[in-house]
Subunit: 702 residues, 2 copies
């Protein structure tokens, strides 16, 4: 539909009696947002979202199409109920101690001539809007095969957008900043270093996509509580500045998802804020998710960890015990240096025990890494069979003595059917060893063949993993999964996902540009914590392999700041123990920084440019502050307004050292201490690609 | 390749030094068959099978192609070893008490220029030949994605063949009898009554395909020990009277199977016999399978059973508790008559207990039948949740008191991923109730979507089910699975499959022609027992629903004879208890006939025309005899040469009554008794579509 055609529809819509009769509008409790919905004479559904009395999403279509019935037209309104809810809930862990869920709800009930019933539920918050489609159990319709979602989002201008392409299989892309009118993914198709990607629509982008309007208002289009449905992508219509929903399809290419009634779609969420910081502080996505389904959550604990991982990425060791094409005769030694050997793992355990880390991740511990990659086959990995040089009994015993837990690793190679068959046994094996955390991985093309990482089948799988791990009192960190959409409210054992371009890309690809970490919190991380694995001190890969040219695009000080600016209840200190032991003064910040918080303040933010965040440690009066910048150096002033009055704090400032620069001089860090109090101003210089980390410890005498 | 081109190849082949150097020939122990194999100058592999000094399979190509390497050409011979084996083994159950495995073996070892190694293992039996491709673990090749099998079977004439189309998803077809030159499946594509079928190649037929040569020699092309590979179909080349192997593909349409080295293909089996009876008595397929993998087999017992099943097929009851689109309000009664209700099941238990049946199958007992069909979706059935009108505790208690076991039913609706997730729980549920038999079903299109009933993924699934049920001491009977290929030697708890057009088609389709049961033992049943469900006394469906025109194309006497001619360790008395109770004199044969045998003699056989088989009951001197015919009446003389000398038997003959005829007069059965001894001749008249059953009981005084 062209803009003029839409205009015609709207004129018609607004002027007819039938449309007037079906029009309903709700306002958010603080009157910041309003949502209107109505039907035109054909029974098609249109909605509009206003923010602060200006259109945020202008009149746009709604509905679904299915194989058997078109659920986007021919509707009559059969009822509309409104209610207000105001509740406060406490997350098991998070950025804040409690969250207010305060909205006005509209239940808009429709029926078509064949008697098919559909409800659209809208929730208007001051900070945005959520809506979803609901299908009650009904005679004559017990299963629907969804072929398309018709929901559109008509933007009110040519906003600046931060986006990655609508890849069915990967979120591991560098972000593009462009006008909505300039969205084009063509160059991503030529991009290397992502083995499993599937980009077929040049105008399709992933959610969340975040935009800045001309007046500074920010809007993010996202989804919440993805389950039993394909993930939501958006097809940009650059000419009309509009997005149309696009659901990731299933292996049956004509079908997006098959659903048994009663069912409802995930929430479609529109986050709104007068500034960038408000987007980061939004709790809309979490609020749209279901409350916690786990009764006893006492075993769920945020944690910091180290692990046998980065040494494989930098080329010092292998996941595999043998070479990929190697067949070892009896007694023959492998040509590879296998990282997950007992002695090496003990070295990490010693390090973790000495410096107070909770866990040691061990990748490459189990059989299957020989020839695992890119084969699109099942039955590769055995999740209960260690390699011969990994004495798991001894390692677990050794770790237990030092107060450290081994973190299990389940790389599925995306042979998900294989994994589902082994899940129960694999979790029982973990329980036997007292392991309560697992990192899962989905590298490669999905089996069941034809399904996608972000389609309905896998969306259901991830939820199944969350459920089954919960049942076994296991926390889970998913890599190469679909991006989260707030499900950690419901399954707080689902600690984190990767589901974006993580630190690892810096070890073996063009890497992540300095702005990358200034975009992630506004897009991918809106849906939930990311296991980004910060903390790299040795940023130049030629340290390990002289021919390697890759570098981490960061200063060391910025790596510290990421522990605050990139929120996660699960944070790795990703570098090698020997690199930390060379700079224990700098490393002290990583030892000190917590992973669970009572309060969070985003002090300064501009998407893709800079973020300054302060957080208060769970159960204490201590604050931690991180400030990061993109490729541009910055001088920032931070007013310590958030400190309690009348108290003195010891501020330890980990700043970029003299002449620091991500490219030319990434290493220098200047550490300084001073006493500060509420209202003081910290003046910090951030180098190009740099950052600053500050710990603010309440002094006893304060 | 045209015939003349082949001839050129062969001329070349036979005349070159390199070919002569690679040519190897083995002969079967009794010199009935010989196999020759050699390479031409291009390193392509050719083989020939002679039977009684005449070509059975003339020079034909061999080899595989894979995505990365062509394993059908460029080979050199690096070794060839021969050995002879002669062993006798005892099946856990079967047609005979022991089986001789006696063959000459050739291990033909090849290597190509890239160093890839492949072995072809041939076994020459007096009754046929088996061969398979083997890939030892080797450097440089750890996974292969098989794109095609090149094996060809050059027939020596335009034989008469009995075949069904190369359907990826179903074996439930009526057989066609035609010359090899006339094979054409086009009409099957228009055929109704098979919901899930996929016939794409008009010249493709399924294995086993059995043929009769002009001189009366019979040849069957089959496979043995199907696992981890797509099932073997054959693409007919009618012009050249040749078959080329065609493997059922995977969801990745370019790939037939993905295999990790070391691996070997299933066996390709060529059964040879001077007459039709010899094909029925062949143990070649069983011998090519691996020995039993179950240590304690004491719990595995052949059995006869009745069940809540036929009443659904004839339209008296439903699997479903509610109507498919029905939503019951509290207290509202369903409009359907649900078969699997407690009271009805107890009626079957009473019947089974009274007449000595081992089990009662109960279909439709669990939730999920509402809207289960044709939706291609997961999570339909719950295998641990009975319908509200089925009191499983009470039913199991009631059955136990009467010495009867309930047979579990797991209809998966082909949502196999769902089933695999529930398998452990489902078998634990059975164990809890002391159930040790399950009938599984795979109606509908397979999930993982894109996989086929007969492809590698499902071949692996069926073996997994056999393994997991064995682990839980459960016997399994698979419906809508791939046809078996002798795996019951390895997994004797895998009692039977349907995997062909069974009795049920007579209840609601054009049905099975009278010749059908005279073909099945020569084709489908060569691979393993079939749960055909014989024993229908009320053959006219208008008895139940006046408007129904369907009939079973049989006389009642023939239904009795099927218990002997269609071998299975699992036999249903499929009709309703009330129909048996009306004719207890006729029913007596079903009560008497056993399901396990020490000896079997096929006395007379002609494919598609007639079969007369005698079997000796396990552990006794009693014999049972069945004789069936197609649509033609026959007078048969059966010499009782197989009885032991000097003993007297009471023969009870259940013969077609006066003027019996499958169409016009199916019901009359004449029962007569007399004393017989070795050498006596039974003269029997078989009506059109009729048969005769005889029990031969050793008289104590005999």
């Amino acid at each position: 539909m062209t803009r003029s055609a839409i205009f015609a529809v709207l004129l018609f819509f607004c002027n007819t009696l039938s449309a007037q009769k079906t029009l309903r509008t709700i306002q958010s409790p603080g009157r910041q947002t309003s949502v209107s919905v109505g039907l035109n004479r054909s029974g098609e559904i249109f909605y509009r979202i206003n923010y602060r009395n200006r259109p945020a999403v202008d009149w746009s279509r709604m509905g679904l199409t299915t194989k058997s019935v078109d659920l986007s037209t021919g509707f009559k309104l059969i009822g509309a109920d409104e209610k207000t809810r105001d509740e406060t809930w406490k997350p098991v862990w998070g950025e804040v101690a409690q969250i207010r869920d305060h909205y006005r709800e509209l239940e808009y009930r429709l029926q078509n001539e064949a008697g098919h019933r559909m409800t659209i539920r809208f929730r208007a918050y001051d900070a945005g809007v959520g809506f979803r489609y609901e299908f009650p159990a009904q005679n004559g319709l017990s299963t629907v095969s969804v072929t398309d979602e018709r929901t559109e989002f008509q933007m009110a201008g040519d906003h600046t957008a931060w986006w990655i392409p609508g890849d069915y299989d990967s979120n591991e892309h560098v972000y593009t900043t462009s006008k909505v009118s300039a969205i084009d993914c063509a160059h991503y198709e030529r991009e290397g270093n992502i083995y499993t990607k599937h980009i077929v629509h040049p105008k399709n982008v992933q959610t969340p996509i975040t935009m800045k309007m001309a007046d500074g208002t920010h809007i993010a289009l996202a989804e919440a509580a993805l389950a039993d449905f394909g993930a939501l992508h958006l097809e940009a219509d650059p000419k009309n500045l509009k997005f149309k929903s696009f659901l990731i399809p299933s292996a049956d290419s004509t079908i997006k998802s098959v659903n048994t009634l009663p069912f409802h779609t995930p929430w479609r969420a529109v986050l709104l804020s007068p500034d960038a910081a408000g987007i980061l502080e939004s709790k809309l996505i979490l609020n749209l998710n279901e409350p916690c389904k786990i009764e006893d959550v006492s075993w769920i604990k945020p944690q910091k960890y180290v692990g046998v991982w980065w040494e494989m990425h930098v080329g010092l060791a292998s996941w595999d015990y043998e070479g990929p094409q190697e067949i070892l005769a009896a007694g023959q030694k492998p040509t590879f240096r296998h990282g997950a050997n007992t002695e090496n793992v003990k070295r990490y355990i010693d390090f973790a025990g000495k410096y107070g880390f909770d866990g040691v991740l061990v990748e490459g511990w189990n059989t299957g890494w020989k020839n695992w990659f890119g084969q699109w086959k099942e039955e590769i990995f055995d999740f209960a069979k260690p390699y011969p040089d990994y004495d798991i009994d001894e390692v677990v015993r050794y770790a237990r003595e030092r107060g450290v837990r081994i973190i299990m690793h389940h790389e599925t190679s995306s042979a998900v059917t294989s994994y589902e068959r082994q899940m129960d046994a694999a979790y029982a094996y973990m329980n036997k060893y007292g392991m309560n955390s697992v990192k899962t991985g989905y590298v490669g093309k999905i089996i069941p063949k034809g399904e996608w990482h972000d389609g309905q089948w896998m969306a259901n799988h991830y939820v199944r993993v969350a459920e089954r791990t919960a049942k076994n009192r296991i926390m889970v960190d998913m890599h190469e999964s679909v991006r989260p959409s707030g499900q950690h409210r419901t399954w707080p054992n689902w600690m984190a996902c990767e589901a974006a371009r993580g630190q690892e890309f810096n070890a073996w690809s063009a890497g992540n540009p300095p702005e990358h970490e200034c975009i992630l919190p506004f897009t991918r991380i809106l849906g939930g914590p990311m296991d980004y694995t910060p903390g790299i001190f040795e940023v130049r890969m030629n340290t390990y392999v002289p021919t390697k040219k890759e570098v981490v695009h960061t200063t060391v000080a910025k790596q510290l700041a990421l522990y605050v600016t990139l929120y996660s209840p699960l944070q790795m200190a990703a570098d090698l123990p020997e690199n930390y032991e060379k700079r224990l003064d700098v490393f002290q910040f990583i030892r000190d920084v917590p992973v669970d918080w009572d309060d969070t303040r985003v002090l300064q933010a501009s998407i893709g440019d800079y973020i300054t965040t302060a957080r208060r440690q769970k159960g204490t009066q201590n604050w931690f502050l991180g400030s990061i910048t993109d490729e541009n150096p910055r001088d920032v002033q931070i007013k310590l307004a958030f400190l309690p009055p009348g108290k003195t704090y010891e501020a330890i400032v980990y700043a970029d050292g003299p002449d620091a620069h991500w490219d030319t001089n990434p290493y220098p860090v200047t550490i300084s201490k001073r006493a500060v109090k509420k209202g003081d101003v910290l003046r910090l210089h951030l180098a190009a690609g740099g950052g600053c980390a500050v710990s603010l410890k309440l002094l006893e005498r304060g």
